[in-house]
């Protein structure tokens, strides 16, 4: 390195901003990801935050690269701490290469300063000169943009758009803040202390920048969702908010219910009358929905449930992530009835699988889950535009005849679903065991026939299973098994291993378990499973259905997502 050059990065830069809730870290994330994307960079962002509205310490990671980046890393290349305590908060992730851009008077001295590379950048001082320290986050946006040499006009346009709902004064001051910050960034480049040379990629322009939660909501619209009833609960609420925001545009009824019990009973009522309904919730809220889930099982009502997992038991860690509600979703609801559990790994999976969930639910008259988690719903990156070319809505409802019987016993278990007011028939559904007409019965022979009929649908579902995706050499010796949100983290970790005999198998459908599972597992000499929970729930499910015991496990349940580095380390331990 040149004299005075403190930091140089030619690709794949990880910027972390850290500060109190209320300091506008989310705004920085929003603005920078868009600005980077416009400038032609691949970008990824993920956040971790405390369960509070003000104070605490939250951070967001933004990765910028010339190639696609879609996973969370431990490494911090540039750290911008905006508050006392911020450095301590991410201390474990600071490396000798990390450069910290900060004001010493702001970040305090509760850490060993001598260990780190600091450059004093007056974010807050500049903001105070503009009129309020509140602008320091936008000064930081400007500084980062300046360091990347992004066109100031582009940056200003986005800042203006972002604040357009506020007063002229606020807009103007933020524009000054971003410009002053931009000049600070240029000054850093001129000083020769920092050099960033990341190439853009022409593919980025036509791509979309989508957050996990948005992909679920857009997939719901594509699946014909016209009714959502839910009760706010982190981290699931974004789907309700997104669909409420689009309600007028798409003719969607979006209702905040008084509790999760009402939410799921509304959704089932809506399906009964011909809507395509969903609920969005998290573990505790879903626990309240379990009786309703069982009702869907008995009524043979379709329903789509977005279950965004967070750590439990009980209130747990409300704003953090975990994959520990697989068994809850699998076994929830009294009695025996079929269901489908989907678990998107990529944002595009969330779109296509949620769309598919509405068709599956309607076609087979079963509950379909979309299992995500906080890490997934709050992460975003650029990805090819969702393809609507094969989107069509097939409503699986029939016009009823006068002698219509809702629960007609059929060979495949599916009774044509009528809805009230469409045809000459009457649609009778009952949470009690019922006869073919839907009326309450205690004919125990009929009871057996009805149970068998409902469960016959499980056989049909075998033909609809979304297969697992094998990534890596077909003749692998070592196999890494994962499901749901860990897709990209495992992908990047496996790609960065020193050996080429490792493949990974990602499950986007976790139940019913794909039939290929056994074959994939038997082909491996050694297998390890990666799960964001403490008891390896998916490994247990695999053992139950295949008899194969995956003994090697890499598990995490501290409330944070895996990072690529952690998995590389874990996989290297396993391989050795």
């Amino acid at each position: 390195m040149d004299d005075g050059l403190l930091f140089e990065k030619k690709d794949d830069l990880s910027v972390v901003l850290c500060g109190r809730a209320g300091q506008g870290i989310q705004s920085v994330e929003y603005l920078l990801t868009r600005i980077f994307k416009l400038a032609g960079y691949h970008v990824f962002a993920a956040k971790e935050y405390m369960s509070r509205v003000r104070g605490g310490t939250n951070s967001t990671q933004i990765r910028v690269s010339s190639k696609p980046v879609r996973a969370c890393v431990s490494r911090i290349d540039i750290l911008i701490p905006l508050d006392r305590g911020a450095v301590r908060h991410v201390e474990k992730r600071i490396t000798p290469q990390t450069i910290i851009l900060a004001e010493q008077e702001i970040i305090g001295d509760d850490f060993d300063r001598a260990r780190y590379k600091f450059v004093d950048v007056p974010f807050t001082r500049t903001a105070c000169e503009i009129g309020d320290k509140i602008y320091s986050n936008v000064v930081a946006v400007g500084t980062i943009a300046g360091l990347f040499g992004i066109d100031l006009q582009t940056v200003s346009t986005h800042v203006e758009k972002f604040f357009c709902a506020k007063s002229d004064d606020v807009v103007q001051k933020n524009l000054i803040a971003v410009t002053e910050g931009f000049n600070l960034g240029l000054g850093l480049l001129d000083s020769g202390k920092i050099r960033i040379e990341i190439a853009g990629d022409a593919d980025v322009e036509s791509q979309i920048l989508v957050e996990g939660v948005e992909a679920v909501a857009l997939g719901a619209i594509a699946g014909g969702c016209d009714f959502i009833s839910s009760y706010p609960m982190s981290p699931s609420t974004g789907v309700l908010a997104f669909l409420a925001g689009q309600a007028k545009n798409f003719g969607i009824i979006a209702e905040q219910a008084e509790d999760e019990i009402a939410a799921i009973n509304m959704a089932i009522g809506a399906w009964y009358a011909g809507a395509r309904a969903m609920v969005t919730t998290s573990g505790g809220g879903f626990a309240l929905m379990t009786e309703g889930l069982s009702l869907a099982g008995m009524l043979e009502s379709p329903i789509v449930i977005h279950l965004a997992q967070r750590p439990g038991p009980a209130t747990g860690l409300p704003t953090r992530t975990e994959q520990a509600d697989l068994e809850l979703a699998l076994y929830a609801g009294h009695g025996e009835f079929p269901r489908i559990l989907l678990a998107p790994g990529r944002v595009e999976d969330a779109f296509y699988l949620t769309r598919k969930a509405f068709d599956l639910a309607d076609r087979y008259q079963v509950p379909v889950f979309i299992l995500t988690d906080q890490y997934f719903v709050d992460s975003y990156y650029n990805t090819p535009c969702f393809d609507l070319s094969d989107t069509k809505i097939e409503k699986h409802i029939v016009k009823t005849d006068a002698d219509y019987r809702r629960y007609e016993l059929t060979a495949n278990g599916i009774s044509p679903r009528g809805i009230p007011g469409f045809g000459q028939g009457l649609v009778v559904v009952d949470s009690d065991e019922h006869d073919e007409a839907g009326h309450i019965t205690e004919d125990l022979d009929l009871r057996v026939e009805m149970v068998d009929k409902r469960l016959r649908k499980l056989e049909l579902l075998q033909y609809e299973i979304v297969p697992p995706e094998l990534v890596g050499p077909e003749d692998y010796k070592n196999l890494v098994v994962c499901w749901g949100s860990t897709y990209h983290i495992v992908e990047e970790a496996v790609r960065n291993l020193d050996t080429d005999d490792v493949a990974f198998l990602h499950f986007r459908q976790v139940y019913p378990l794909p039939n290929e599972t056994v074959d994939y597992l038997l082909r491996a000499q050694t297998t390890v499973i990666v799960e964001g929970n403490a008891t390896s729930q998916f490994a247990k499910l695999i053992k139950l259905h295949t008899g194969i015991d995956i003994e090697e496990k890499i598990l995490k349940y501290d409330g944070l997502s895996f990072t690529v580095e952690e998995l590389i380390e874990g996989l290297n331990d396993f391989l050795s």
Partner: protein, 282 residues
């Protein structure tokens, strides 16, 4: 429906209510195919099975959320949520409150016999103080739930009480409730000859009277005052508020397009345009 095995006890107050309901629906000429009876669980909640109509017999306490959604998904349907006092006011108490706030255009008929029948004789939210049961062995000491006062306090759009022993008046009240646009509560006093030996036909006759013709149902304060009378319970229409928008009107999707949801398809052109915005243009 002659061959139906009705699960009610001889002398049950549900029989006259069923008869009254059938007559009311016939007089209003509501087509069975256009009517949905929504109920929960309990003896009263079995009533939809004894009529020729569409039925959503859901979970205990959860009739109202389902009924609200059914009406919202297809406003052309006539929706009646009908169940007992334990179902609507106990297990479903929270939904009772919030459905009133939501104001869907549904009729909520509550068979109020002040006791749990199907579980064989425990206290219900409306059981009177001192009422002894195998569970409330020393007698009920909880303040009885006052559904009418609660509904009026929440500015419900139609609040009435009837008595199963008076078919003619109950029919008129029920007709008014079904024709009313907005949420309409009809609490119907009924005896339970098996498990409530206190609140019998005679007891109800002695302890009720009709609101005077001069009672102004637009007067909310007066309605509330009358709803709190408990020495003798007034019957009739206590309160009507015709100035409330219904839930279906408020959801904002039927203003330009009257089609029920099942007849609609998503606009993929619009969705395409929405997805395009995620490209983040300059």
């Amino acid at each position: 429906m002659g061959d139906i095995d009705i699960a009610w006890c001889p002398g049950c107050g549900n029989f006259p209510i069923l008869k009254i309901l059938k007559q009311t629906l016939a007089e209003l000429a509501i087509e069975p195919t256009n009517l949905v009876l929504v109920s929960g669980i309990g003896q009263a909640a079995k009533i939809p099975h004894y009529l020729r109509t569409n039925v959503f017999n859901g979970l205990h306490g959860r009739a109202l959320p389902a009924a609200t959604a059914i009406k919202a998904a297809n406003p052309a349907l006539t929706v009646i949520a009908e169940s007992g006092d334990g179902d609507m006011y106990g297990e479903g108490g929270n939904h009772f409150l919030h459905t009133i706030r939501r104001n869907p255009d549904i009729t909520n008929v509550v068979h109020d016999n002040m006791v749990y029948g199907l579980t064989k004789g425990q206290a219900s939210p409306t059981s009177r103080i001192g009422f002894k049961t195998p569970v409330q062995v020393a007698g009920v000491f909880l303040e009885p739930f006052n559904p009418l006062a609660v509904a009026i306090a929440l500015n419900a759009s139609f609040v009435a009480r009837a008595f199963a022993g008076d078919a003619e008046q109950t029919r008129e009240i029920l007709k008014g409730a079904i024709k009313h646009k907005g949420y309409a509560l009809v609490d119907i006093f009924q005896p339970c000859p098996s498990f409530n030996k206190l609140n019998t036909y005679d007891w109800f006759k002695e302890h009720t009277y009709y609101l005077e013709d001069s009672h102004d149902p637009a007067d909310r304060n007066e309605a509330f005052k009358r709803a709190t009378e408990e020495d003798k319970f007034p019957l009739g229409i206590f309160y009507i508020n015709n100035n409330k928008k219904t839930f279906e009107d408020n959801v904002g999707i039927y203003e330009e397009d009257q089609q029920p949801l099942y007849e609609r398809k998503p606009d993929f052109e619009k969705l395409h345009n929405l997805i395009e915005t995620f490209k983040v243009a300059d």
